[in-house]
């Protein structure tokens, strides 16, 4: 692995200091103001773009950089923008997904509490690139303070002429509103999200039509995650090569915000080269395991990803490296479990989360999840039978027949529990109790 800041004569631990782009201006108690952001070249990319670039040229530059979606699926940003047909109707909408309800994930919160104007600038450029008229930031209820910060800063940007009619004399008009969610995990799914903003019950909607052709109010709509879109001004200023060179691996690109929580000394959100090894993230940046705890497993990308065991402790954390070892990077939110934590119980907790948050639209998910919970609860309480394991295995495949990606995501932890920790499940069954409870 390359060490970006390591220079001769530096103390050894400084090799773990990396360029900070998204969290560069992180302050303990406040955001970066518009003035401060401008001193740091903020809004320079916007001014330059509106003056010198055509919408298509922006999309091209963004596409060259190969920015992959940070909302969990890793879909290339440029490709999504390009999927709007040239003759698509108007008005068009640009939506930022700040629902962030994937358990373990809090990067968008940290990012926007650091530099909201980075998002605002990025959205205006995105709006210009896809010829949108209006942008929405969809925010979950527990981030109410963030909604208020965003509304305040949007007004400041409006007064500076960055939003509204005829932005900076360019002839381009665009405005942004904060849309408060009523609070439900499924709203983060891109199509459910669009229903939510339109004031419909937020069930997902299988394509086609794709939202980029017919989205909100049947008009072309692009949705991106906060952490994806904030790269736009940086990439336009510094170029695709710079962006790619920020990564630790050839398969990675840019930096990544890794959230670490659970049994570590220093839980938090860290901006590191994409592709940084899991071991470095846990041992160095998150301060290692808490005293008396040994690493048992982690969920590396939010609750919808598989348990990852000691075997891949050194895995490089980028989308492709993960895919190659049969895992998904998801939101790169690492939840760390120690040797004293019962993973049957942890999986039960995860299944209860999914059962409660299921939108109820399709039967396999709505009925399957409570059934899985019941079986796991029996096992955890010492009332399990050997045949439950087979049923659970079958259910973990069966739920892939659901209507949206929610249920397959939910099955990740269950399937990997059975794959890697079958012994632990059987120990519960044979001993008729949870071996972790005294």
């Amino acid at each position: 692995m390359k060490n970006w800041c390591q220079k001769d004569g530096q103390k050894p631990n400084e090799k773990y200091h990396y360029p900070q782009i998204l969290l560069k201006n992180r302050k303990p108690d406040r955001i970066l103001t518009l003035e401060e952001y401008r001193l740091d070249d903020g809004y320079a990319a916007l001014e330059d773009t509106l003056k010198n670039l055509k919408p298509k040229e922006i999309t091209q530059k963004i596409d060259e950089a190969g920015i992959r979606g940070r909302g969990g699926a890793g879909f290339p940003l440029g490709k999504k923008w390009l999927s709007i047909p040239d003759d698509a109707p108007f008005p068009r909408y640009f939506v930022v997904n700040c629902d962030e309800m994937e358990p373990g994930t809090f990067k968008d919160r940290v990012l926007l509490h650091t530099n909201p104007h980075n998002l605002i600038e990025a959205m205006i450029i995105a709006g210009y690139a896809i010829s949108a008229r209006k942008g929405f930031i969809f925010v979950r209820p527990s981030y109410e303070t963030l909604s208020q910060i965003l509304e305040r800063e949007l007004e400041i940007a409006r007064q500076e002429g960055y939003l509204g009619e005829n932005i900076l004399g360019s002839g381009f008009s665009f405005d942004i509103v904060v849309h408060r969610s009523g609070g439900r995990y499924i709203c983060g799914e891109a199509t459910a999200l669009l229903n939510a903003i339109q004031g419909k019950r937020p069930n997902p909607k299988q394509p086609p039509p794709y939202p980029t052709t017919r989205g909100m109010w049947d008009k072309p709509t692009v949705t991106n995650n906060v952490e994806t879109i904030v790269w736009v001004p940086h990439v336009l200023r510094h170029g695709a090569r710079w962006y790619k060179s920020l990564a630790a691996t050839r398969t990675g690109e840019g930096t990544k915000l890794y959230c670490v929580s659970g049994k570590v000394n220093n839980p938090g959100c860290f901006e590191l080269p994409m592709g940084t090894r899991l071991s470095e993230i846990i041992d160095v940046h998150a301060g290692g395991m808490i005293e008396g705890s040994e690493f048992k497993a982690c969920i590396p990308g939010g609750a919808s990803t598989r348990f990852l065991t000691r075997k891949y402790y050194d895995v490089e954390m980028d989308f492709d490296s993960f895919r190659m070892v049969g895992h998904r990077l998801g939101t790169a939110a690492i939840i760390v479990f120690d040797h004293k934590t019962c993973l049957v119980d942890a999986t039960l907790n995860l299944m209860e989360f999914f059962a409660r948050e299921s939108c109820g639209w399709c039967t396999p998910c709505r009925e399957g999840l409570p059934y899985i919970c019941e079986l796991l609860r029996k096992i955890e309480n010492g009332d399990g039978k050997a045949e439950f394991v087979g049923i659970l295995k079958e259910m973990s495949k069966f739920l892939w027949n659901s209507y949206c990606a929610f249920a397959p995501g939910a099955m990740s932890s269950l399937e990997s529990l059975i794959t890697y920790f079958e012994d632990e499940i059987f120990e519960h069954i044979w001993e008729k109790k949870c071996p972790f409870k005294v």
């Binding site: 373990g104 527990s142 009523g182 439900r184 339109q198 004031g199 109010w217 839980p267 907790n349 409660r356």
Partner: protein, 160 residues
Amino acid sequence: MISGELKEKLLKEILEAETPNEKAVDVMYELQKVYGWITDEAMSEASELLGMTLTELDELATFYNFLFREPVGKYVIHVCDSVVCWMNGYEVLLDHLKGRLGIGIGETTSDGLFTLLPVCCIGYCDRAPAMLINRRVHGNLTPEKIDTIIDQIRAKEQES
């Protein structure tokens, strides 16, 4: 009934939206602030303001975790029960809260001050265990910290 002033404010916001439906959740949030929860009266007012049917609105009101179609206390405590808080001592905290308030999950204290509800991961896992009180976050919780928070609210309420 809501004040003419609020009505005007909401109508203006509805007018600025792409379609009235876009403001459905916002309007219900505002009415919830007035009534404490979304009463039937609030529902018909929302329906009138938005031009949406009661069924369309109930489809939303019953779906979302932060809209209440049943009475709740003045302070709604949402305790995070997702996986990180769970492994960092959520159960102990919940027991403490239940004991302290004398209520179970889904119940309201007899003085109408507190309602206890479960909620999934609130995005503060770096400060687990965590909870929300009226959507404000409290993290790195311990039983002592919870006592302080509850005492403060009770004291504030006694003053007013």
